[in-house]
């Protein structure tokens, strides 16, 4: 009975998949859902097999060092911490190494096996472990995490215990006990780091106290005892306990009498009993004791002082001081605000001090009123369970082989289809067999080994297939998935993925650290389509563009504008729209030549100076910063697409059946997630949310082809620098269409699912900063305010040299420092 009772704080096995080992969790909370099921909020523990091999290597190193040498152990823990601080950089190199060693891995594990078989290992506590014991101990090691998930309580399959490994403990003790696990490191599934479960005592002047030195003979300690003295009771008084008690009774009777005299009290306490009870409260007693002490324990003098000329002394505490209406107010407030006494005071009882209210609250808790409220609360709290009963689970496991039924017993030996012995213990007899391992190998486990496998995630005895299975699993947990264009194929190693990406997609994945170079937020350009521009012009009076631009955070009523513009659009020709968009205003003034004719100019022919200059005659710029790309046969511009590192497809699939919920807030730049050069999902969403919001504010439903492109300052809107992959622009649909199949496969940024695609923010060019040096600053000072303003308005113009003193260089020649903010 007690075995099937699961409480908060218990460590339990959870079965989330019938063929994989149990998961080990700690119950943090048990909640009843509205439909009567019980959900358990649990903290996750990870097995060795759940963690990537590179981290396991680190952990083992830690174990070894930790046992061998204490200081080394410390150092390593610091190293682990440092790693966390430095972020994925170091981490990544570790994984890189691990994957590059792919081939070496095999040899290594073999040599490890040799080591295991050949020699025995001595633990710090002086135990010697055989290879088998060592193998099994590995199944007992867990990694704590702060990951919290919610699982249905019916998946609980039994209890276990998990403890922090203490270095004094005998490791063998764990092997001899069933269902016991230990941990010493904490795994962070998001950052992929291991940490020691350990705080640190810091050393330095910021942490330690300055130790007072012992006083010399005759030196004073700077404490004036008189000043400190505030004795209010001393036991050396010469009175007997009985005398003191008598005095207390007398003081209480004085108090009762005082209440009888006091009008307000007699209303509150209509009966003598109540007055007497009120007079017996602690305030009166403490006051009596104080009085006695003040009068040097002379009872008669103390008694006299209780009845001064003004009448008997009346001591009332908060409980008594408060009127019935105040008490009601308080209860109401408590219901509304809970125990936020500051708010209660502000909104309900401003004439009371906070101290009054707190004192009253704790006294009020002793009353019947509170007890009633408590009952109500208790009913509410019922959905939060303290324990849950889960009966033993005895449905057959799908992995169980139904060989027991088939009459395959020949001469007492069990001959089945495969006829194989137990993969772990090589037993040939078992009441129940279970299929295990890769299906093509047709391995099977006997009953006890199956139980072991489910609980500990490994085979009792080391076997080749077992090792393979484990590796497969831990590899799978961080398998390399192809992110290009929803391909989604998985590869065991990164090198395989790179090969795949190069062959199938023509994308070269960088082998170096994909740690992004930190940049400021990418610039955003809003591409406005023609209809929107028309809309803006038509409804200028509604949008009030000047006002809106001054207050960019003000909402714009988009639906209203859309409706209004549709109304206004009615009956207008295309030319009207074209005019609107071109000229910007609704008024037509006519051409200058026409106007001049109307003004009396006889010569209707256009003067030569008014004709546009022929393009060939235009002065050529010596250097074009961003030359236009060549045109294709259809007249569209051909951009050489720059292969993107990896497309920003966020891969959230986890090997587990159940969705894991991140417990820790991923705040700011969680670099850990950027392992594969993927921008954090949150960020991307922000960006999306931002631009759609932005567009909606402008009264725009993003047309299907509309794109928001991050453009560096040097590019200027609409002229993307060659380094930036150009998104398909609105009205140029054929760009995305594959004209040559080979090229289309290259990472052109194609739209997926009709949503506007955003170029990875990492691909935005570096921002340019103007770095003002001393000389430029001096230069600025030499200009007049007007000149400065003019220059600011026309940044492309050279500032006249004559304005400047000959020795100082012009601002345009001042080198502009490009700073990539890293």
């Amino acid at each position: 009975m007690a075995n099937n009772m699961y409480r908060v704080g218990d460590y339990v096995y959870f079965e989330t998949s019938s063929t994989s080992p149990y998961q080990i969790r700690r119950i943090e909370e048990l909640n009843k859902t509205p439909n009567g099921n019980v959900e358990a909020k649990v903290m996750c523990f990870y097995r060795r097999r759940d963690i990537s091999s590179s981290l396991i290597m680190l952990a083992d190193k830690h174990q070894k060092d930790g046992h061998g040498n204490l200081d080394l152990c410390r150092g390593f823990k610091k190293l682990l911490k440092g790693q966390e601080i430095q972020g994925p950089c170091l981490n990544e190199t570790v994984t890189q190494e691990a994957t590059q060693q792919g081939a070496l891995d095999e040899d290594e594990s073999d040599s490890e096996g040799a080591e295991l078989g050949g020699s025995t290992i001595v633990t710090p506590s002086g135990e010697t472990l055989s290879s088998n014991e060592r193998h099994q101990l590995r199944h007992r090691e867990l990694f704590l995490s702060r990951q919290i998930e919610t699982l249905p309580a019916t998946h609980i399959r039994g209890k276990c215990t998990v403890t922090l490994l203490n270095e004094t403990e005998l490791l063998l003790a764990y092997l001899n006990k069933d269902d016991t696990f230990f941990y010493s490191l904490v795994y962070d599934p998001q950052q992929k780091t291991l940490l020691a479960d350990k705080g640190e005592i810091r050393v330095g002047s910021r942490y330690q106290a300055d130790i007072t030195s012992l006083l010399k003979e005759g030196e004073g300690d700077g404490r004036n005892l008189e000043e400190l003295e505030s004795l209010i009771w001393t036991p050396g008084h010469g009175l007997t306990d009985r005398q003191i008690d008598q005095f207390l009774v007398m003081s209480r009777s004085v108090g009762t009498f005082a209440r009888a005299l006091d009008c307000s009290s007699s209303v509150k306490q209509p009966s003598l009993h109540m007055s007497a009870a009120a007079a017996s409260r602690d305030v009166t007693l403490f006051h009596a004791m104080d009085t006695l002490h003040k009068h040097s324990y002379d009872i008669s003098r103390a008694l006299c002082s209780l009845i001064p000329a003004t009448g008997p002394v009346l001591c009332r505490d908060e409980m008594e001081e408060w009127s019935a209406s105040e008490a009601n107010l308080f209860e109401e407030a408590l219901e509304k605000y809970g125990k936020d006494f500051n708010d209660i005071r502000q909104d309900f009882l401003p004439w009371k001090t906070l101290k009054n209210i707190i004192e009253y609250y704790y006294m009020w808790k002793t009353t019947d009123r509170y007890v009633q409220q408590k009952r109500v609360k208790a009913v509410e709290a019922e959905s939060k369970l303290k324990q849950v009963y889960i009966p033993n689970y005895n449905k057959p496991n799908p992995a169980a082989l139904s060989n027991g039924k088939t009459p395959s017993m020949v001469n007492g030996a069990d001959i089945t289809v495969s006829g194989k012995a137990c993969e772990s213990c090589h037993a040939t007899n078992s009441s129940q067999w279970y299929a295990w391992g890769p299906s093509h190998l047709q391995c099977r486990l006997c009953h006890s080994c199956w139980q072991y496998w489910k609980k500990f995630g490994g085979l009792k005895l080391p076997s080749r297939i077992g090792k393979e299975e484990e590796r497969l699993h831990s590899g799978g947990s961080r398998s390399q998935r192809c992110n290009v264009g929803g391909c989604g194929r998985e590869y065991k190693t990164r090198s395989q993925l790179i090969r795949h990406a190069a062959q199938a997609h023509g994308v070269a994945l960088r082998a170096g650290s994909p740690r992004p170079i930190m940049k400021t937020r990418a610039a955003i350009m809003v591409h406005t389509s023609l209809p929107i521009r028309v809309m803006r012009r038509l409804c200028e009076d509604l949008i009030q563009p000047r006002k809106a631009s001054r207050n960019p955070t003000w909402p714009v009523n988009t639906t209203n504008i859309r409706q209004e513009s549709l109304l206004r659009m009615g009956g207008k020709s295309f030319d009207d729209f074209a005019y609107l968009v071109k000229r910007g205003t609704g008024r037509r003034r006519g051409r200058v030549s026409q106007v001049s004719v109307r003004l009396g100019q006889k010569n209707s022919a256009c003067p030569a100076w008014m004709l546009p200059t022929d393009k060939s005659l235009l002065p050529k710029q010596p250097h074009i910063a961003f030359p236009k790309p060549p045109k294709g046969p259809d007249g569209s511009l051909i951009y050489t697409p720059i292969p993107n590192k990896e497309l920003p497809v966020v891969n959230n699939t986890s090997p587990s059946l159940l969705k894991r919920r991140a417990y820790e807030e991923t705040n700011g730049m969680d670099e850990g997630e950027l392992e594969e050069g993927i921008p954090p999902a949150k960020r991307q969403k922000d960006l999306e949310a931002l631009d759609s919001l932005h567009l909606n504010q402008l009264g725009v439903i993003p047309p299907p082809g509309l794109t928001v492109t991050p453009v560096g300052v040097n590019g200027g809107p609409g002229v993307p620098p060659p380094g930036v992959p150009t998104p398909p622009l609105a009205g140029v649909p054929n760009l995305g269409a594959p004209s040559t199949p080979g090229r289309a496969k290259i990472a052109t940024v194609s739209r997926v699912g009709g949503r506007p695609r955003i170029i990875s923010w990492m691909d935005a060019p570096d921002d340019v900063y103007f770095y003002a040096t001393d000389t430029t600053k001096k230069l600025r000072k030499s200009l007049t305010t007007n000149d400065l303003k003019r220059a600011a308005r026309r940044p492309w113009k050279k500032i006249q040299e004559k304005d400047l003193s000959p020795s100082t260089p012009t601002p345009t020649t001042t080198p502009i420092t490009h700073i990539t903010s890293d």
Partner: protein, 440 residues
Amino acid sequence: MGGKTVAYFYDPDVGNFHYGPGHPMKPHRLSITHSLVLHYGLYKKLQIYRPYRANFHDMTRFHSEEYIDFLMRVSPQNVQNFTKNLGQFNMADDCPVFDGLYDFCSMYTGASLEGAVKLNHNCCDIAINWSGGLHHAKKFEASGFCYVNDIVIAILEMLKYHPRVLYIDIDIHHGDGVQEAFYLTDRVMTVSFHKYGNYFFPGTGDMFEIGHESGRYYSVNVPLKEGIDDASYTQVFKPVIEAVIQYYCPTAIVLQCGADSLSGDRLGCFSLSTKGHGECVSFTKKFGVPLLVLGGGGYTPRNVARCWAYETGLLIDTDMPTEIPYNTEYFQYFAPDFSLHPEVITRQENGNSRQYLEAIVKHVYDNLRMVQHAPSVQMQDVPNDGLNIKEEEQELDPDARLHLSEEDKRIEPDNEFYDGEKDNDKDEDPEVTSSSATKN
């Protein structure tokens, strides 16, 4: 009473603070404790003081001025002006800014400080301040419901008179603030018994934290696992404290009696009864060393009040009836059993095996043995006095009257003085001896 004077410090206002809704730390537990002390008749046998309130100067004896200045000025009304400092001083979830924060700190710190002064001046043998014992506070920041570390400030005061102060911590949490403050010194030995592991606050207190530099081996940590019961706790506590006192010979003891190690605590996970908890107090008292008893954690107010009232009784050797006096103002709090020693409900199995505890005690013994061989306890403190006297003497007699006696003192046996490598000549010129001696 045994002739012991027990001073008890209580400020009538200290209970009327509130950390905020949902916060487990409830200063009002101190009022409940005090009410029990009165109604159990312990009040009459104590020397009761309304404590001094610590000032800025007292607090900056340990803490940084910047931090205390912040505590003085911050309030829930102006907290938005201090957003930068909140992070800097760790004033987040655990340590909220509440009304009267600074007053609260100055009350409990003042009480602990005054207790230390009283002990220094031999005004009492035992000083009790249940409002103190906030052992997590750090020099530059608040931590774990603690803002000002009254323990460190009290110990610093005691160090004026006491060469060696022993700090014992039976709170369920590790006494990291105190340990950190005295991590490098051998004048204070910190001993903490606490739950360790599974992310239990504050995460420090491994048995390998033993101190640093001259404080090496002067931090003793006893990491325990959840669910420890009376018998197991005593099995560790008694031998460890016995050995510590034997090796360290403290001249004063500070005992932090955090009541969150009791069973049924809101945050704790031990299974101690009030008797088991009190046993640690009476065991410590037995050594007859000046003792400063402080409160600490404890998040189920009724149990805290029970425990500390009971321990007050133990410290003045008064037997207390098990029934809670019915006229106690907070009588209702002690429902349904109305007993001083409620039945222990074990929520968790005892995770501490006998072997584990034995191993830990052995580890502590091993480290303590190093203390005995470490010379610094005596070497560091005693020469201070001796040196001063010598200096005074030197200044006192430049004339010839004492010259001879001093020379006699400093003269070295002839056979100890070697001129050369193998010079064993005993007929050395006396002039040479004396001149070289003074040079020495």
